[in-house]
Symmetry: none
Subunit: 157 residues, 2 copies
Amino acid sequence: MQRQDKKTRLQVIRMIVSSQAIESQEELLVEMDKAGFPCTQTTLSRDLKQLRISKVRSRGGRNVYAMPREGQFQPVPTHEEIKKSRWSLGENGSLMVIHTPPGHASMVAYDLDALRSPLLLGTIAGDDTILVVLAPGADAAEARSLIKDTVPGLKSN
Amino acid sequence: MQRQDKKTRLQVIRMIVSSQAIESQEELLVEMDKAGFPCTQTTLSRDLKQLRISKVRSRGGRNVYAMPREGQFQPVPTHEEIKKSRWSLGENGSLMVIHTPPGHASMVAYDLDALRSPLLLGTIAGDDTILVVLAPGADAAEARSLIKDTVPGLKSN
DNA sequence: CTTTTTATTGTCTATTTATGCAGAACAAAG
DNA sequence: CTTTGTTCTGCATAAATAGACAATAAAAAG
């Protein structure tokens, strides 16, 4: 059993996975071969586990491997104020951006949508971010206060 | 073949998945049974796909189902040039749209969020598209170069 | 109502991923 | 050098997930 440089192999995997849409370990196997790092599906399974790389659903119904969102390689450098409160509200013209703790965005967006306020055209929620689109001609200050009244986390901001 | 309420079943799945650590479809199957929504592994496989719920790696080396990180964001229709390269950056006033290979958007968006740059108000990630909202008065050119420096795939663009 | 089309679901099976086990490489002691 | 323990790897196989197909139900069209 020839032993190869595992550290390098892991790097190669990261490189491949983050630069192309890999849909299976067999597919990755081929790429590893091309890259000059032949191995087996078994090894890739274990490497991917160690790298915390998982398959995520893409829109076309495809499943592709993707790097972990919280990589073990990049501790999040948080701002102090942001650390304190994970809630924030920013605006730019007819758009507002609300930051929430991870996972809370869609819930909050739902509450905002439920208002059915003529001031708000609509919302788009990510994991921890909401984009609020104001209605044309809507008063930004008015909208801001409406949002703050609706979203408890923003009260103090 | 009795037909049950699919909409409700999907809701139940979402509830279960987001409230407990489900490690396999068989396990989910049991929970669905308990919840009064018996079905088969096949159905769960399809439902999870439709809900875009995927398995992610947890720290303890376990694999757990998790809700998708993005909400109902509709990817922007792609232009011809954009299709050519899988990475692209477009802008329109205070908005920038980044296209990535499928499944990579949330990872990139995470990196951008982690910058905590005053230039960027926030990001919303779809599957292969990221919407970046610039801060009011932010210099678009400056933001563009910041983004290019942060996202390796955009280097050549 | 009858016919046609579309959607939903299960069974059976293929595909994909993970694991038990064993052998070899390496490292640390003795 | 020899022994002992650890890490890495592949093979064979188990476990988990997805897909083809068929059956039935619901909806739409006539």
